[in-house]
Amino acid sequence: MDRHVYLDHAATTFVKKEVLDEMLPYFAEKYGNASSLHRDGREARAAIDRARSRTAGAIGARDEEIIFTSGGTESDNLAIKGVAEAYEQKGRHIITTKIEHDAVLNTCEYLEKKGFEVTYLPVDEYGLVSPETLEKAIRSDTILISVMFANNEIGTLEPIDKIGEIARAKNIIFHTDAVQAVGSVPIDVEKMKIDMLSLSAHKIYGPKGTGALYVKKGIKLSPQSHGGAHESKRRAGTENVPGIVGLGKAIELAGANIGGYAERLRAMREKLIRGIQENVSDVRLNGHPEKRLPGNANFSFEFIEGEALLLLLDMAGISSSTGSACTSGSFKPSHVLSAIGLPAEIAQGSVRFTFGDANKEGDADYCIEQIIKIVQRLRAMSPLFAQEKGMRKNV
């Protein structure tokens, strides 16, 4: 099968040519260390400064509020542990949600072992956090609220501005993991009252292993790596100059055309959703019908198992991702699908398709055609489907 349709942009994206072109000179030609005073160092410093301005500009922040990191995971770790340690005299309570990425969840669990208390807010059937529930969870010792901007599995967009409002009114630091949202949704940290924001380059056509954390001026942060005075003493280590340059270019390109990009993705995504809903029975769309990332579609196909579906899609040239327990390593269904109340056996048949710039006209149609065939084939060998359809004795 020659055809290749990449529908896993939420996992990672290709690096755009314009991005790569800007990065390349910083490997072998402009290789200076940005901490050096000589011309080579100054050249690297200037490149980092430019990337910082571009990154800040894309989210409505000031240059000095951007810390470059090794990606979304490090940004989340630095934000949460950095605030927890810096403010533990004030309180040891953190509020987050049940549907965060592991980078946030496992960091919170780590802090629980260190004596912090964490409230994991529930979500409704669409994956939405309730601002009212959040407000009620706030205590006198709450020091941090961390709610993701957009969920990576089901694409749900959280009510970030309402949460920002509440946090600001109560004078609590508000962090959001916007790794999936940047580039697809307009973000203004000032207007949305966001105090800290994590982002990652490889989800927006930049390089892997590079990200940033925005930290509003005035917020204290306890550094999580110790060494030189890099990044205003908040993140030690010689800067990854080519990566940072790539992030700067990628986020600038993304910011220049969020509307058009989102529109293009939404059209392909809607086509897929319609095609599946019209042609496949016993299928469920996970996430919110409107409040969702433009490129995200997440389905549960009843009576079949997601890994088998994913493998057959792969053989047909389609790259997707599954929330099935069978591929998780822990054999538990995805924590996000559990949180929205999906029974385990339905979560088992869940597959995520995420559109992006690797897609073209016709990809959705091809995907629909293949899904119809593959689902039919797997259901024909499913004991659950036979039972459900009352064919048990006769076929």
């Binding site: 327990a325 056996e345 088992q348 060998m381 499913s382 004991p383 048990r392 076929v395």
Partner: protein, 128 residues
């Protein structure tokens, strides 16, 4: 996490599974759910002259579960019930040329469901 990719034998059996389906009036049958992942396996057998004349399976399971049941049903087909009962999970995994460590329980699901269907036949046979 352990290596999750499947070898060519596994992929071949997964893509073209043998013995998928159902048997009308089976002589023995079993439905088993995995305690590890919640997946499900159904096996039915037809016995003639003390030997497994036909065997069919259906599964709500992963790639490894499908490949394991395909090869395991091939292995017991034609054998006497007594011999067939001697099938081991190791033999199934060996025949597949190995499975990722995290996927060994899927072959156990196949092997156990086959054994239970055979035992179901033996029990019915004793009574009747």
């Amino acid at each position: 996490m352990s290596e999750m990719s499947y070898n060519e034998i596994v992929l071949e059996h997964f893509t073209n599974p043998r013995n998928v389906g159902e048997i009308q009036d089976p002589d023995g049958e079993a439905i088993l759910t995995s305690k590890v992942c919640g997946d499900m396996m159904k096996v039915q057998i037809k016995v003639e002259n003390g030997a497994v004349a036909d065997i069919k399976f259906k599964t709500f399971g992963c790639g490894a579960a499908i490949a394991s049941s395909s090869i395991a049903t091939e292995m017991v087909k034609g054998k006497t019930v007594e011999e067939a009962l001697k099938i081991t999970n190791n033999a199934v995994v060996d025949a597949l040329g190995g499975l990722p460590p995290a996927k060994l329980h899927c072959s156990v699901l196949a092997e156990q469901a086959i054994k239970m269907a055979l035992e179901d036949y033996v029990n019915k046979h004793k009574q009747g």
